[in-house]
Symmetry: C2
DNA sequence: ACCTGAACACCGTTCAAGT
DNA sequence: ACCTGAACACCGTTCAAGT
C-alpha cells in the first residue's frame, strides 16, 4: 500500500489507541509501515505536524458525532469520549489546539458558536481535565467519577453564559 | 557542592525557566551539575519523580504568594503567574497533579477549601489554559488577551459555586 | 554512602544516493 | 516522485566497579 500522509496518520492512530504516545515514534511508525524512518519525511514535515494531523482527525470524529448545532455540553462530553479512545489523546490535541486552534476546535464548541472566550474556556477545561484523567489511567491513580465530575464543571462553565443576576 | 535531590531540582528549575522542557534531560542536568548522568539516579528515582519534585516546588511558590484563605480567583491568577515563570510549567504540573493531586494543588485551591469537584475544575482549567498559552508563546501563535480571557473563564467557573437561581 | 564508566536500547532528522 | 542507507547528535536507565 502506497505511503501517504493519510496512511501514516491512520497507523499513528492505531499505535496511539493500543500503546500511547510513548510508543509513537517515527521509527516505530516506519517499522509498522515497512519503510525506512526517513521515508516518512517525504510525506510529513516532522513529528509535530503529524500530531496536528492526528488532532484534525479527532476533530473530524467529534464533528461526525455532533453537528454544529449540537448542545455544547453534549459536544464537550463527545469530545471527551473521542479523546479517551486514544491514549494521550488530550495531550496531543492540546498541542494541536495550541498551534492550529480553528482547525482543531469541534464545530459545536468553536468560537463561531460560543464566542471566542467561552469557546476557549470549555476547550481548555476539557483538554486539561481529560489529560489529567488519561494520566491517572496510566499510573492508575483513582479517577472514579471522572465523567460526572467533568460534566459538572463543564456545565458550570457553560451555564454561566446565560447571564447571571 | 554536594549533590542532593534539592540541588538537582533547583538546577532543573533554572534550565526550565531558561530553555524549557525540551532541554531538561537527565544528561543535560548532569552536565550542568558536573557529574555523570548515572549519579543523579542515586538521589532521584527517575525523571518522572523529578518532575513531581518540580511540581511540588511550584506549589510551594504559589502557597507563599497566597495563604490558604486567599480569594480563589486571585489564587488561580497567582498559579498562572508561577506556571508562566517556567517554560512548560503547566505541562509539568499537569503531570504532577495527575499523580500526586494533594501534594501539588495550592492550598487556596485545594479540595478542603473549594470541595473536590470545584477544586478539580479550577485546577484543570488553569493547567489546560496555561499549557495552551505556553505552547503558543513557543510557536508564537497569537495569544493576546490570554490573561483577561483566562480570568473571565476562571471567574465563570468559580462564580457558579454561589448557587444560581 | 556516593559516584564513575561503560553499556543497552532507544530517539528525531538530514541528506546523498538509488530507482 | 518516492524511497533507502548511513550518519549525526542526541535520549533514559542500569549496573559493576571504584572510593
Amino acid at each position: 500500500m502506497a505511503l501517504t500522509a493519510e496512511s501514516i496518520t491512520t497507523t499513528a492512530l492505531s499505535i496511539l489507541s493500543q500503546y500511547g504516545l510513548g510508543d509513537l515514534s517515527m521509527r516505530r511508525l516506519a517499522r509498522e509501515l515497512d519503510v525506512q524512518p526517513s521515508a516518512l519525511y517525504w510525506h510529513v514535515k516532522d513529528k509535530q505536524s503529524l500530531l496536528i494531523l492526528i488532532s484534525r482527525s479527532l476533530k473530524a470524529e467529534v464533528d461526525a458525532l455532533c453537528p454544529a448545532t449540537a448542545d455544547p455540553l453534549a459536544a464537550a462530553m463527545s469530545l471527551r469520549e473521542v479523546l479517551l479512545k486514544y491514549r494521550d489523546g488530550a495531550e496531543i490535541v492540546l498541542l494541536g489546539y495550541s498551534i492550529a486552534p480553528t482547525d482543531v476546535a469541534p464545530q459545536a464548541l468553536g468560537a463561531d458558536r460560543l464566542g471566542a472566550e467561552l469557546s476557549h474556556g470549555i476547550l481548555t477545561l476539557t483538554l486539561g481535565a481529560v489529560a489529567v484523567e488519561q494520566n491517572r489511567m496510566i499510573f492508575d491513580v483513582d479517577a472514579a467519577e471522572a465523567a460526572e465530575n467533568f460534566a459538572a464543571n463543564a456545565a458550570r462553565l457553560l451555564r454561566s453564559s446565560r447571564r447571571l443576576p
